[in-house]
Amino acid sequence: MAVQTNTRVLLNKVRGILQFIQKRHRVKTKWAATSPKLSATDLALQNHDVMYNMQLGELWPSVRVGLLTEQKYGALVNNFSCDDTVMYLQSLGCQDFIASSLHMEGSKAADSVIPPYSESLQFDQPIEGTYTDLTRASISPNVKCFVFPKGDISRFKPARPDSCGYLSYYLMDAASVLPVLALNVQKGQSVLDLCAAPGGKTLALLQTQAIRFLWANDWSGSRMSRLQRTLKSCLPSELCSEDNLCITSLDGRKWQEVGENGTFDKVLVDVPCTTDRHSLVEEDNNIFSRSRTKEKQSLPLCQTQLLLSALQAVRVGGEVMYSTCTLSQLQNQCVVEQAMSLAKEELGISAEVVDLQPFTALFQDTFYFAPDMNVGVMVLPHLTANFGPIYFCKLRRLS
């Protein structure tokens, strides 16, 4: 405690000096001031331009205009609503992109792009059927997410309570459903959602109706109460009993202190990131504002720590889904690689990356996936399919 206060005093002092320097500096710039002070959204755009131009090359302009233009939403159907939501959504002219991908004739779309053999196959011994069929079979039939067809810019109305008082659907980036689907939660499994608030993915997880026990955690108390409100407005209370749902507000980096290590079948770790789309439009509390520079710089570290926690929380043979809503390699592939090597060296936990090619092949018609990804999958924003950015990567714990 004493140590903490001491560091705080020290920090304040440092901050004071910094401010002092900045003020002096400011006088100087004022003398030569011509450029207007850049807003945080400007800074975000500048950052994106530099980083993603390098990373995406000639794909960047199309991603850029997607990011700067209204995004598309998906309506996650609440299976617990008493209304016939599916019929309502169909009457609007939209389609459940999951069902339509799964019910596609044969397996033509997907099989052609799958390598004949991949080491990190999800299924131990595929004897019958193609990988695509198996991938299909492993996707929860209960998660339904409706989107307007390509080229249609219609919007969903905000969901209102139905006759039983539950919301009939939940609006979210349709691409956010993918990491949940790809986690393949099976009947009776226990799941940890380490950074859960405000709860879109938690809700999607619960729609599978397969989970025996769900632990939803988020460090931010205020965001966690939002999650609780969301769950309350969508789920019957018996589903939220202590036996099957646990809600906490802990620092996920210190998960090992909780003691629930090596117990979960599946862990979702949807980490805080630079939220690339959001940071271009919202000035308030923007991660690119100068006051949050330090925090921004420490994001990859925090993300790595959170992923390490997830790898510890999952049982051997279980799976971790790491996801972000940034395009940044530093926060995506690099974090995964860093965490995997740290887990091995420091914790003696080895893990492998699960190949998601067969999975993404199913959804190619709906999303624009980044080509040439070595580790994980990326949904790129694009005007014709303006979802994402979403990065996700599945790891299986081996020891």
Binding site: T34, S35, P36, S39, A40, T41, D42, D49, N53, E58, W60, P61, S62, R64, V65, L68, T69, E70, G151, I153, V281, E283, H382, L383, T384, N386
Partner: protein, 342 residues
Amino acid sequence: MSRICGQQVVRWSLRLSPSLALKSAARAEQNARQFAFACRMLCSHAHESQTSRASAQQHGSELTLRILLDLGFTETQAEQVYEGVTRSLGKRSTTHDTSTITALLALGLNSSSIVKVFDKCPALYTEKGAVVQQRMQNLCKLGLVEGSIQRVISYRPQILTLPAKKVNAAVQYIRTKCLFTAQQMRDILRDSPEVMEEDLKHLELKFQYAYFRMGVKQAEMVKAKLFKVSMEELRCRHCFLERRGFYQTPDKKGQTLIVNPKLKDFLFTPEDVFLSQFAMATKEELDMFRKLIAREDEEKGKMLEYGDIEEDKEEDEGEEDLTDFRRGNMGHMGYERNKRKR
């Protein structure tokens, strides 16, 4: 100015006469007299209204198929014009005469161009010849030289249905609001006569958008034929480039981090060229963007209507400095990115 005008008309008339191929010498003489009169009329500025009225009387031979043929129209052309006249004027009017047609002939338009002119703008049938002549004269005064005036009228005959007063007011408005030079204004009139029919407020908005939001100077606007393109298209193409990272609003000194493409190159060019050479995008993307930006603007407009203009006020309080691209009095037309950030 007026001297130049006069000379031109004389030249047109001279050039025109043989092509008329009139059958009788008497007719030829009569027409020559008419042309001479037209010339005088177009050149004289002092007694405009008097002379116009006089000429109307002078020209007032009733319009018949015979006369149209005599004036050099082919049979089909004559029938087409005659039908047009009777359709437009109906029975109630008694004033259909040849004066508008002779005025157009005097200007140097041949019979087939005249048929096209009436085709494009049937309203011209109902205009009095004298008035039309007076309007031509006004355009001449505004600086449309030989060649240009014929082209303008062939391209946009509607301009002859606008009262000279209105045209002059529009010219005045554009010049004072947008600070075009006299020469630039003449070029605008020549290249985009349709601006005279546009809502002037719209026009001003388009100018302000190009000037403040895009950092384009007047000379470049004229070259780019800015006023020929709708606000929606301007906005769509500019924002599409901007959001793709290919266009930047210059700072106060007119500087940008990237080299902006020239307005004249990307604005008036066919869509496929725009896509392949400037936007590096597919048609599907542009089509989507067109829909989305239209909705953005529509909603932005609504928001402003409902009184969300405090921000604007604050921003506009400063002097209206034409070099400050970021501060223009843009109304709702699209500098939302800047605004949201402040």
